[in-house]
Subunit: 402 residues, 2 copies
């Protein structure tokens, strides 16, 4: 086989835009065990139900045998779609049937395929700013432009949304994370959701409601999803098993109107034929054999404790000018430095102190504010949370007390 | 939730081309148990190693625990890539390292992502004609044009290939299946492979060598893959576990030069973040704990028997004017009717006799010959093979003896 530099000179125009990423290179340094990294977004592995999964897999092979490992329908495993239809009602107030549901290879795949079926090159996607960077990556291959609307402490600013929609008829898709947003941790109250739906109902747009964290809530009441308020078939809901169950199985789902399901399934067939038939049964059988709600309660109890510990430690160790939020769910808190401090520039100093975060600038689809960073608290033992925040506090004092 | 007709009027230009497919609708009729369907391409489920998999999963949970179900690296599980590097040497004469390998969510995903990174809208893909229809589906979202080169009983016609390449500088990618081709079952002899490489080395093109069937060979010697003859880093090899192991886990791989691996991994991250970390371990641990070669021998012994039975039955029951091949590996045989007989038009009559095939016309990227059909023999018990071929023979006699 040929080795060394490759002469494969020509990539697609899109692929040529994929360049080495300096932040990714810095984050690669955080893999060392001595670094306390708040940079990831991983769930707590100590709660993965490994012993239960041994029994789950055994039951799948015994009860389903060969069918569990053969090709399956592209739309997904019947039992799992039935369970999810019930779950959508119970957890998100959405009244749908299994026919409205497609199982995806993680909700990342949902983002990617929805962009493929909804966007032409040059169409505009409207997003919160900041927002999930993985969504931008999933939409990029379709070649859209991005326009943004600010968020306040209650989510997307609806007056600004209306102005932007009224002034730009190239907007075809709106991407939002209304619950425990990544990266800010913000949740939209029900009034904001209603106001949002009132606005978007006036325009010819599709809303992607990304909800991977909605079941990771710390004691606050369930809120109706945007999809539950959707009277015109304009909202596609995206859910995920990565935070409530285990991410390694790569399982997510969409809830969508019939015509979107039809196009989505056709494209999914050409993308991966279908999501692992065995993996789908692992989730379905776990839900059938064990108490998923009790499992989620374990997760939320642990994460609430870690959130408190992180926020309390920030109060103790961070300079007073540094602000942060205490999220009511999800995996992240968002830290705001005084204006003029660049969180990306500070990263190498943080890593020198063996602590890491993600600089906020990467979460902005267009130009962004530089004085934020995101901290993850789900994937870290309590002692390391305290020690890591303490190290960050030292760094911030050094910078701000200069 | 909104029900009924959807008002989501606007899909992407590409999605609008995805229309209802009359052949798919007819094939949906073949799901009834009374229909003997040779239309699929499924492996024989009776050889799936279900009891072994119980032990495999147990070992993964016990030895690897949480790591086996957490997010993993996008490029794939180390041990599996190491095993595959050795396998590539042993089975396909390719000298590569684990760094050249990316694990994919089935080889369908490899086709899709390679098109994304290699093709701009309007670029030309050169293909055998007929060829795997799933490749066309995977390439379509990138908006290419297709040009074709004829095949004879030894594969792609190299003289024609050279003429087409010399006359069309928009050709950027060549897609071929040199072993036990789907749908024709043809395998290129080594001389043809060498002549092919001599031609493509003169042009600035990338070759996708799709090889899902190469390990399903009936007693004939292994042949060097195109990738093993690649001195310029122009060939990307695609492999699959769907035929040798189990398709439900959705596991495939590519072997590619460094720069392709780099772009591929970046796009895969935005498509599904990574292939199931647990699924990858299911394949790796099966290879570690059991004798994969003995398992593949069981498969090839059974399929060779079924191929013989199908071909012998066709000799017995089909009219003499009907031709077919006796493939030396893979899952399919290709039947050629006398010119003027339309295999698609004949399909409804076949289904009325409770027997089904795939009409050949769907395997042509552009205009195609109508007097072929494809038969699968891997996924059918022996008595049903004989009975199905007998029914087809009756139909063909009725049509040809008119």
């Amino acid at each position: 086989m040929f080795r060394g530099d490759c002469i494969m000179a020509r990539f697609s125009t899109f692929a040529q835009t994929l360049q080495a990423d300096d932040i990714a290179e810095i984050l690669a340094l955080t893999q060392k065990p001595e670094v306390i990294s708040f940079a990831g977004g991983l769930p707590a592995p100590e709660l993965f139900p490994i012993e239960e999964m041994k029994k789950v897999d055994e039951a799948i092979y015994t009860e389903q045998g060969r069918q569990a490992v053969q090709y399956g329908p592209t739309q997904g495993y019947d039992l799992l779609r039935e369970q999810l239809a019930a779950r959508m009602k119970d957890k998100f107030f959405v009244d749908c049937t299994p026919d409205n549901i497609v199982i995806t290879t993680g909700s990342q795949q949902a983002l990617f395929i929805l962009a493929q079926i909804l966007l032409d090159k040059g169409d505009t996607v409207l997003m919160e700013s900041p927002t999930y960077m993985g969504a931008i990556m999933a939409f990029d291959p379709s070649g859209p432009r991005y326009t943004t609307v600010s968020t306040d402490e209650n989510g997307i600013v609806v007056e600004e949304l209306e102005k932007v929609l009224a002034s730009d008829d190239s907007i075809r898709m709106i991407y939002v994370i209304p619950e425990f947003q990544n990266p800010t941790g913000i949740t939209w109250p029900v009034e904001r959701r209603k106001a949002f739906m009132d606005v978007i109902n006036k325009y010819d747009v599709v809303v992607l409601e990304d909800n991977p964290y909605g079941e990771i809530r710390y004691g606050i009441d369930k809120l109706p999803s945007l999809k539950s308020m959707d009277t015109q078939g304009k909202v596609v809901f995206m859910g995920s098993f990565s935070k409530t169950f285990m991410p390694g199985f790569r399982l997510g789902w969409i809830v969508a109107p019939d015509d979107v399901v039809d196009k989505f399934v056709k494209v999914k067939q050409s993308v991966d034929i279908g999501t692992s038939t065995f993996g789908q049964r692992q989730a379905a059988y776990f839900c059938k054999m064990y108490d998923m709600e009790a499992h989620i309660k374990q997760i939320t109890d642990l994460y609430a404790k870690r959130r408190d510990l992180m926020c309390d430690s920030m109060e103790k160790y961070f300079p007073q000018e540094v602000k942060f939020n205490r999220p009511q769910g999800g995996l992240f808190t968002w830290v705001t430095l005084p204006e003029g401090i660049d969180a990306k520039a500070l990263m190498r100093k943080a890593i020198a102190k063996n602590v890491a975060y993600v600089p906020g600038v990467i979460f902005y689809p267009n130009e962004g504010e530089v004085n934020h960073f995101r901290l993850n608290y789900s994937n870290m033992t309590e002692d390391r949370i305290v020690e890591g925040v303490k190290r960050l506090g030292e760094l911030l004092h050094e910078e701000l007390d200069k």
